[in-house]
């Protein structure tokens, strides 16, 4: 008899991800992903000045602020056919890279490592043995016995208090947890250190963007940073040097800690390279433009269908014609009126809530489709698309990751294994290593360009008649696109198709599952009442959909976190 499990964290006031799975013989045989709130924030933008839109859009989400600001200015620039000065491209690229590095580090350590790492095993670890193991894996200088002992003592103190504090919610001792006490301690120690290094990455965003969490330095047509090599208040050599120091620290952490840990943990759960694949259509847009017209990029984009890497299609630009013309949103299973898929420029948002019904409508998320197909987006899509195109930087780090996994696991790891839950984690680490290298490159490009005497940061936008544009960004969670129609210098329509909409998409009119749903099918569950395996796969996508509204609920009632029916 199949059991239904609903994971619905109800302490959240508004809007969050809910997962329903049907379990038979300890495996998932059906799945539904839904979002519990309608936002409709885009409607706020109608009638406003397109030059101000980015300030509003960066409030869509409290975590991904920067990415929505960037996609918005790019959308308006695309509509106006406006070039962006080189300095502005490099400054934006550095902000995007630093933000992504912060995001990827936090995602692995703070938000998903504890799906794999068992905190309660840590007191049993031998810090000396942990240090020896760590030394065999990485040159990281903070892999000392002292660091491991200090981290272990933190866990011991929390455990001794009888209250698990921050760890009270984990599935500790779950049969799907399998790391040795030493590997658990190693990963947890890096969890602590990761907080320091993600902060350094955010400091870079703040130094270039003048503030976090909401950057202030964007304009349609460039950036507002004043460049003056000798002034301490402008962007000069002092600040650039300070940024360089911070970036170098983050780069070392990515290469010597994050990348290594992902490979090591993955190698110890090799069966998870066979679980969680789902939708094998992948989509990514090119990013990190290298010229004012945005005709060359450091990150490639394109699409793959049915997992066929040999048949990869490349996008030449971030607003490639094929991309512009191929996106639509289907509301067959979403709480909106409408009977046919619509392109975002003519997108409608007409809410009609009918309650959760897995056969009919069950989510506030629309179903975005590319050429009518569901697409998986995110670092895995980007890495596979780059790999398939023979992109040298992607190949360099993907091959390095696969060889490290092979060495630790004693198996031959191939790119095909990346279509999986662990593949998503590995791809995120691969992408982080690529971005780390590009951080140094773009810093140098900026410094060299300024040294040539080019201080230009902005081109003036000019509005005429009715124009439409798309602004894309290959964000930490994948392809983000903002679609704008501007008429007489006012916004006529605005739609954001965000990465988590692609991945958390409900079924469409043909019944095709969205990526989360498809990835959960056939997942084995050791203990259905503790669906750790479901969380592993969902977390591997790095979902982000609930940040829009935040009202504190002071009642402190116990939550029905997992319901088994």
């Amino acid at each position: 008899m199949a059991k239904r499990i609903t994971i619905d964290p109800i302490t959240r006031i508004e809007g969050h991800l809910r997962i329903d799975v049907e379990v038979d013989n300890n495996a998932v045989n059906n799945a539904w992903a839904s979002c519990t709130m309608w936002r409709g924030i885009e409607t706020i933008l109608r009638g406003r000045d397109p030059r101000d839109a980015w300030m509003f859009t960066q409030r869509f989400c409290g975590v991904c602020t920067t990415v929505h600001a960037m996609a918005s200015v790019r959308a308006v620039e695309d509509a106006l056919n406006l070039e962006v000065p080189l300095n502005a491209q490099y400054i934006r690229n550095l902000i995007l890279i630093a933000h992504a590095l912060h995001d990827h580090i936090v995602h692995f350590y703070q938000l998903s490592a504890l799906d794999w790492v068992d905190i309660l095993q840590i007191p049993k670890a031998d810090p000396e043995k942990t240090a020896k193991l760590a030394e065999s894996l990485s040159p990281w200088t903070r892999n000392s016995r002292e660091e491991f002992t200090a981290a272990q003592n933190k866990v011991k103190a929390v455990a001794a208090s009888g209250q698990l504090g921050i760890f009270m919610n984990g599935y500790w001792g779950h049969p799907a947890m399998r790391l040795s006490p030493e590997v658990n301690l190693l990963a947890f120690t890096h969890y602590v250190q990761a907080l320091e290094y993600q902060r350094k990455a955010l400091q870079v965003v703040g130094m270039l963007g003048s503030k976090t969490p909401h950057i202030q330095n964007l304009t349609v047509g460039g950036v507002a940073n004043a460049i003056d090599l000798d002034s301490p208040s402008a962007l000069g050599m002092d600040r650039l040097e300070a940024i360089h120091v911070l970036l170098n620290d983050v780069v070392r952490f990515v290469n010597e800690v994050y990348f290594i840990d992902v490979c090591a943990v993955a190698a110890m759960y090799p069966e998870w390279f066979k679980i969680g694949s789902g939708v094998r259509n992948y989509l990514a847009v090119p990013d990190l433009p290298l010229d004012t017209k945005a005709s060359a990029y450091d990150l490639p984009g394109g699409y793959i269908t049915n997992g066929n890497l040999g048949g990869v299609h490349a996008f030449k630009t971030a607003s490639d014609k094929e991309f512009r013309e191929s996106v639509s949103e289907d509301v067959t299973h979403a709480y909106y009126r409408g009977d046919k898929p619509l392109h975002p420029w003519v997108g409608e948002t007409d809410p009609a809530f009918t309650g959760w019904d897995g056969e009919q409508k069950y989510s506030w998320v629309k179903a975005p489709r590319f050429q009518g197909q569901p697409m998986q987006v995110g670092p895995l899509a980007q890495v596979l698309i780059g790999y398939a195109q023979g992109h040298p930087l992607t190949r360099k780090y993907a091959d390095l990751a696969l060889s490290k996994v092979s060495a630790v696991a004693g198996v031959h790891a191939t790119p095909d294994m990346l279509h999986s839950t662990l593949g998503r984690h590995a791809a995120r680490a691969i992408r982080a290593a690529m971005l780390a290298e590009l951080a140094q490159k773009h810093w140098q490009l900026l410094v060299d360009n300024i040294a040539k005497g080019d201080f230009t940061v902005h081109n003036q936008p000019v509005f005429n008649g009715e124009v439409e544009g798309v602004g894309t960004h290959e964000a930490p969670r994948g392809t983000l696109s903002h679609w704008v129609v501007v008429k007489d210098a006012k916004i006529k329509n605005y739609q954001a198709v965000v990465p988590s909409t692609w991945n958390a998409s409900p079924r469409d009119r043909s019944g095709a599952h969205g990526p989360y749903e498809a990835a959960l099918l056939r997942t084995p569950l050791a203990r259905p009442e503790e669906p750790l395996e479901v969380l592993r796969t969902v977390h591997s996508f790095d979902p982000c959909m609930a940040c829009a509204c935040h009202a504190f609920d002071p009642s402190g009632r116990q939550i029905a976190k997992v319901k088994v029916l």
Partner: protein, 182 residues
């Protein structure tokens, strides 16, 4: 000198949820504070709140709350009130996470000694950039609660002779000046 963060939390695009950032910006416009005081519009933070509050002596957070009270009611919560929550299973790992944040800074021994959450009961969270009348009317009371907490902490501040630009760019019309009693 005490290191104090006064942080407004919430989404300015969703009606009453924007009251925290709104008040944070009004404070900057109308008051001058001790050097150790930072006023911040924090938006809707998740775990990056850890960085914001680590190592502070005191934090005062202003947020909208969902509570069975008249809209615009101003309620004060200390650490134990907030900690009655258990952290939830994270489906979406970017959950706003006040409880997790406080537990984390405690584990790392960088927790602020004084924590005050000033909650304002909201009524409308629909998309839109303005506050409901009830919540807008409660703003002076919330500011008085912040002043009382600063007095208790021994932190000095004074009203500016002439308010500076509030930086509340998202509402039209601009907010009315505070009544002189605030």
């Amino acid at each position: 000198m005490k290191n104090v963060l006064i942080g407004g939390i919430g989404n300015i695009l969703l009606g009453d949820d924007g009251v925290g950032p709104y008040i944070a910006r009004l404070l900057t416009a109308f008051f001058e504070f001790d050097e150790g005081v930072e006023i911040a519009d924090l938006g809707t933070p998740a775990l990056d709140l850890i960085d914001q509050i680590s190592g502070r002596d005191a934090i005062i957070l202003i947020d909208s709350i969902k509570v069975d009270c008249a809209p615009g009611s101003v309620l004060l919560y200390r650490k134990p009130d907030i900690m009655r929550h258990r952290p939830e299973v994270r489906m979406d790992p970017h959950s706003p996470a006040l409880v997790e944040t406080l537990l984390s800074v405690e584990m790392f021994a960088v927790a602020p000694r004084d924590v005050l959450l000033i909650g304002i009961a909201g009524t409308s969270y629909n998309s839109g950039c303005s506050l409901s009348a009830a919540v807008a009317a409660s703003v002076p009371q919330a500011i008085a609660a912040i002043q009382a907490e600063l007095d208790r902490l021994g932190v000095t501040y004074c009203r500016r002779e002439r308010p500076i630009e509030s930086g509340i760019w998202w509402t039209v019309p601009k907010p009315a000046p505070l009544p002189s009693s605030a």
